[in-house]
């Protein structure tokens, strides 16, 4: 009896089957094509607020190297004060560069663009001195670059090699002329 009914209404069954397949196609193919886009900026992306803030912190000269501020009222004291200030500044810069030498490692975060995280990565890779960075060839850069993950490309972008050369030589004047105040 049921078979007869199916035979009599086979067209209806074919249509029901096709509708079922069409619905399945829509569910499994069409809806899956929907692409998910997001405008969320990663915290470490260029221009993201945390990244900009970190970069600002990196670019800030170390406290020991800041120039003592001369109160406006004393500005008239002129060259004598200026000379003292310059002397203190030179001393501060010298101390800053000597800081690291005791442990046999340089303070890699003095390179602009190297923050605490990158510094830790570099130390983990066995890079602890400016002289090592200054000596990097193109191959060396590629080798280290490939291991920096999210920071890939920073070495060339921030010109670490040239920075390290100045820092290694202690040529602060040359460094500041090229890369700005340390």
């Amino acid at each position: 009896m049921m078979v007869e009914m199916i035979q009599e209404n086979w067209l209806l069954f074919v249509i029901a089957l096709l509708i079922g397949i069409a619905v399945a196609y829509w569910i499994f193919v069409v809806t899956r094509r929907t692409s998910v886009t997001t405008t969320k900026i990663d915290a470490l992306d260029e221009g993201a607020a945390p990244a900009a803030r970190n970069q600002a912190l990196i670019d800030t000269p170390p406290a020991s190297a800041t120039i003592p501020v001369v109160p406006p009222g004393l500005a008239g004291a002129g060259t004598a004060v200026a000379a003292v200030v310059e002397e203190q500044r030179a001393e501060a810069l010298k101390t800053a560069s000597d800081d690291a030498d005791e442990t046999g490692a340089d303070d890699l975060s003095r390179i602009k663009g190297v923050g605490p995280k990158l510094e830790a990565m570099l130390i983990a890779l066995g890079v602890t001195r400016f002289s090592q960075i200054a000596a990097w060839s193109d191959d060396g850069i590629d080798r280290i670059d490939a291991q920096l993950g999210r920071f890939e490309g920073r070495i060339r972008r921030d010109n670490w090699v040239a920075q390290a050369q100045f820092l290694q030589d202690g040529d602060m004047a040359g460094y500041e002329e090229k890369f700005g105040k340390l």
């Binding site: 069954f13 079922g20 499994f28 899956r32």
Partner: protein
């Protein structure tokens, strides 16, 4: 049971079979990883 009711149930089953076929064709093996980064 009226004949139209029986027919409707059979059509529904056929519809379900169609969806099952579609799942077998396109739905299997595509997990959550599809369409996401």
């Amino acid at each position: 049971m009226p004949i139209w009711f029986e027919l409707m149930i059979l059509l529904l089953i056929t519809y379900g079979v169609g969806i099952g076929l579609g799942w077998g064709l396109w739905g299997r093996g595509t997990g959550q990883d599809e369409g996401f980064e």
